[in-house]
Symmetry: C2
Subunit: 328 residues, 2 copies
DNA sequence: CTGAAAGCGCTAACAA
DNA sequence: TTGTTAGCGCTTTCAG
């Protein structure tokens, strides 16, 4: 079963390969009827353009990269967020004829550049990620750090989402919310902290921001939470920027015999199965991984295909999923 | 900054492009010195072979697929297992000059075939997966169903692992273990059930196997667990084939006021952050996602590069991580 | 409006 | 041992 080439169609339709190419790609002008006829014979012959040949001729590879930023080798921020992003991005890319190659965090630069990708998506960038140096358009999920020259980004209104969360806690009667945050640098983390500090100022509260040291795991949250909850005047609510950190806080609460939600409320960024599974289930911001990934691919493709120009961005709304951990 | 081509090196080194190609690919015979000199000038000029051109010339794309099998559109079995597999497989592929494209479950056949991949890895196949129909070598993680013509597979000794788990439960004093299994078809599930039934026979126990209906989520496990634990003579230990199912069982135990591990032991296949996070943490089989993925890529590449032949397989040992849920 | 022909950069017969 | 040359299948000027 030999592959049908553009030449075969040209022969079958009695035209030249140029005409076939133009007809199939909507180039040039041509009687609609000719175009239709060529299209038809192409279908009949089961023609599928060779991506390899097209790649060589056009200088594109029809490959997109996706990398998760901001964590050391082998570590990942939030499994379900990552998985949903990858799947959605891949499906969207596939619809448009592109393959999505996942690049593990910490992959060497040479290995990445050899992929000759047409563009890249970096999720939660810190700025150290390699695709920025490759000279291909990069779209980020979460705002890019200044000076990284992204071709676009898709982001949440984390200020609004954070205020929504804090208002939710206040409405439930909690009075001293604190933040447990992962390292600064990622825009959603910084936005959360900033919005929290503003909110505190407006409510005449002294902000309490604790940072995770080291890798973002549930264990890393344990000492941080311990210190926080053993203060003379401990917070009565904790909002974390990572689902796994919330679980760490929860275990410390248990250890200190604090009842959640009675003595302590808990909320987290990035809803996940983990947060649904623990007891009590944790109130979380649903960050809409799928729409974000879809938007990121679309932004990236338009940056690749229209060479036009300036960065474009999309904002996706986050929603609050209230659960037992904040229902006093 | 124009790209350096093989021709540039040929000119610089005063040889023909064939010689350059041979020198760089270790083909043909040639004075070592010539080879070294060509290599050196290539390095000096910063030469990097164009993957596109090579792809067209060789008919290979240097692209591998990875698909997770056995679940409906949008559903995934075990997040952390998946993430670790993807990252490790991608890193391994990258080292060998291949890109790993992730194909979401349920992607349409046309979309997949257009990627023109050289080979595919299917994780936990049921046999419905598309790469089998593409005429490219397929390596599976978990044994392939009969008649799918895989080029190789990497698997656990799930019989041994299951017996190890059951022996662990028996040693802790549990006497009536039951199994909560996901749908049949995936080899690790079938092996688990089979080993369990054998073990029961040897211990003169009547086996109890409950199956999840529908999609494999924690919620699906709830009615199943309820029915199981409300039997006249309920099991005093439950082994599940999915981490999220164990969490569902745990919530039912809570609901029925059964204390874990006192009244009920719980173990699961596929250790994950989820199982570490719940209370009590759940004893689990660590299925070694990373070594499996690495082996799968290596098997696949050897199937692609040596066209030789017969399927080859690798077995990876699983280990039991004992936690609170089975420590009476 | 359509066709001929020159590449894209590399590989692999086949010659020399 | 090394070089010449013909593709791989498509896109894209440039003529006709």
């Amino acid at each position: 079963m030999k592959r049908v080439s553009i030449q075969d169609i040209a022969d079958a339709a009695g035209v030249s390969i140029t005409t076939v190419s133009h007809a199939l790609n909507g180039k040039g002008r041509m009687p609609d009827e000719t175009r239709a006829r060529i299209q038809r014979t192409a279908d009949e012959l089961g023609y599928r353009a060779s991506k390899r040949a097209r790649a060589l001729a056009t200088g594109r590879s029809y490959t997109l990269l996706m990398q998760i930023g901001g964590v050391g080798v082998g570590m990942l921020p939030d499994f379900s967020f990552f998985v949903e992003q990858v799947n959605t991005a891949s499906a969207t890319a596939l619809e448009r004829g592109y393959g999505l190659v996942v690049v593990p965090p910490g992959a060497p630069p040479g290995a990445i550049s050899q992929l000759e990708a047409d563009g890249a998506i970096v999720v939660d960038p810190t700025g150290d990620e390699l695709p920025f140096e490759l000279g291909i358009p990069v779209v980020t999920v979460g705002r890019p750090p200044r000076g990284t020259g992204a071709a676009g980004w898709v982001d949440h209104d984390m200020h609004a989402a954070t205020r929504m969360t804090l208002d939710h806690l206040a409405a439930a009667g909690y009075e001293r919310p604190a933040i447990v945050a992962t390292r600064p640098g990622q825009s959603y983390v910084d936005d959360t902290v900033e919005a929290y500090e503003q909110w505190c100022a407006e409510h005449s509260l002294r902000p309490i921001v604790a940072r995770l040291a080291g890798l973002p795991t549930e264990t890393a949250a344990v000492p941080v939470a311990r210190k926080l909850l053993r203060r003379r005047r401990p917070p009565d609510a904790i909002h974390t920027t990572l689902d796994r950190a919330a679980v760490g806080v929860l275990s410390v609460a248990r250890e200190l015999r604090l009842r959640v939600p009675r003595d302590l409320a808990l909320t987290a960024i990035s809803d996940s199965p983990l947060l649904r599974a623990v007891d009590p289930p944790v109130t979380a911001l649903d960050v809409r991984a799928a729409p974000m990934a879809r938007a990121a691919v679309e932004l990236l493709l338009s940056a690749i295909e229209d060479t036009d120009g300036r960065p474009r961005s999309v904002t996706v709304a986050a929603s609050l999923v209230a659960r037992g951990s904040s229902a006093r």
